[in-house]
């Protein structure tokens, strides 16, 4: 039976691997969330703030992608980046970059969909109010983004939560290589399979702590928006 002191020793002791795993996880999650936010929020503003004929179809595709199974995303990215794939020459497979790409494929639709839902509620009211006082449509878009800013932060944090907890896609394209592409989720899976429950539990605690901090931030932001 693993004792609490053993777990704490693993977390704060001299073992470099655990720190490496945590750092790789954070690096990958921050990078993929940042890229997804840069892509997803403008797309969400565009989609939620405009009406066009194909909008229902685009929403159906987006909702499908929001529920994309991670292993499918991992498979697609793996086939693209593998040596025989169209992007094989880039030699990205089994790198953190490949893991970031797979996560961007997974998270961008989620951020886009959530941002579009937020914008679609506020944009018509803001657009009409802005037009009524003589502001240009471009100014109305800027004000819409400004008015949705706190919900956007909440959306990005939701994306980060998804990124840090993801296992299937990063395992496929990253390969769980020690000191290179091993992250918390893939390490927990591996250590559990090997019967090293102490390390798995220690990593699980760190993952839970990070998730708790993220959820606290999301709740705090939602409370602020609710009060505003």
């Amino acid at each position: 039976m693993t004792t609490l002191s053993e777990i704490l020793n693993l977390l704060f002791g001299p073992d470099p691997e655990l720190r490496q795993i945590i750092l790789t996880t954070l690096r990958m999650s921050f990078a993929s969330t940042a890229i997804s936010a840069l892509l997803g929020i403008p797309l969400g503003v565009l989609l939620g703030g405009n009406n066009f004929r194909a909008k229902p179809f685009v929403y159906r595709v987006l909702h499908t992608l929001m529920g994309l199974p991670p292993v499918v995303a991992g498979l697609v990215v793996f086939l693209l980046l593998s040596h025989s794939g169209p992007l094989g020459t880039l030699k990205l497979v089994y790198t953190v970059t490949a893991m970031v790409i797979a996560q961007v494929v997974l998270i961008t639709p989620i951020i886009t969909g959530l941002a579009a839902n937020i914008v679609s509620v506020k944009a018509p009211l803001i657009r009409e109010t802005a037009a009524g006082i003589g502001l240009t449509p471009w100014r109305a878009v800027l004000y819409t983004v400004y008015e949705c800013r706190t919900q956007f932060v909440s959306t990005v944090l939701t994306g980060f939560g998804r990124a840090i907890a993801e296992v299937g896609a990063v395992q496929m394209v990253g390969g769980n290589i020690q000191f290179k592409t091993r992250v918390m989720t893939t390490a927990i899976m591996m250590q559990t399979n090997m019967g090293h429950f102490d390390i798995a539990i220690a990593l699980g605690i760190v993952l839970l702590l990070i998730s708790f901090v993220i959820n606290s931030l999301v709740s705090r932001i939602e409370e602020t928006v609710g009060m505003a």
């Binding site: 506020k122 009211l125 803001i126 009409e128 003589g134 505003a228």
Partner: protein
């Protein structure tokens, strides 16, 4: 000149508004009355340019001299003062004009409150302050007192009449209340299912309606 010629607005084959011809004279006050879904808001949105007709032509003045207050005006999360100043972009003495407009709607004390924390009635008064913060040639108001109490309604109506007199501005507003139409409008346009069924001087239409639909609508308002 503000005019509609052979205008049709359709949504999924449903006719929302069908007006063969309508003209508004400059400097006059028009009240649009009718039940929910009669086309009042659609007509105002056409005149404001936030909606395009399915067919027909709308002649309107440029956005510069026009102010349009939608039924649910948005209160931005910055201060009430800044909310009003938004309507004065490019104007000199913005803050003074915005404070003056807020004073006229009895909101001096709320100038630094957040717009998103206002009640429905306060948000409507703030939106009205945006309208009167500068001289305009046309005011389009969609149910401007739907969320205000009696005191707020009296204040908005009195301020509006003063503003119109001072600026020689055209007013087109919608309301559910025939009494309000009688107080504010010189001419009334009664809409029913997207069509104009009666139009004329406010007093004669509201006191002696000729059309059956108008009579039925007004009968609901008599105690």
């Amino acid at each position: 000149m503000i005019a509609l010629q052979d205008v049709l607005v359709q949504y999924n084959e449903r006719v929302i508004l069908d007006i063969p011809e309508l003209q508004f004279a400059e400097g006059k006050r028009y009240g649009l009355i009718g039940e929910n879904g009669s086309g009042k808001t659609t007509l105002l949105r056409l005149l404001a340019g936030t909606l395009s007709p399915t067919r027909g032509q709308v002649t309107r003045m440029g956005a510069d001299g026009m102010g349009y207050m939608p039924q649910n005006p948005y209160a931005f999360s910055f201060s009430v003062l800044r909310n009003v100043e938004m309507a004065l972009d490019g104007e000199a003495e913005r803050e003074t004009a915005a404070r003056e407009a807020l004073h006229r709607v009895g909101m001096d004390e709320l100038a630094h409150a957040s717009g998103s924390k206002l009640s429905g009635g306060e948000a409507q008064r703030m939106a009205f302050a945006r309208m009167i913060a500068k001289p305009r040639r046309l005011l389009l108001l969609d149910e401007p007192t739907s969320s205000t109490d009696i005191k707020g309604t009296d204040l908005i109506e009195a301020t509006l009449l003063d503003y119109l007199q001072a600026n020689g501005c055209t007013l087109i507003f919608s309301t559910h209340s025939p009494a309000q139409a009688l107080r504010l409008a010189e001419e009334v346009i009664f809409l029913d299912q997207g069509r104009i069924v009666e139009q004329g001087p406010a007093k004669s239409i509201l006191e002696v309606p000729q059309n059956e639909r108008t009579q039925l609508f007004l009968a609901h308002w008599r105690i």
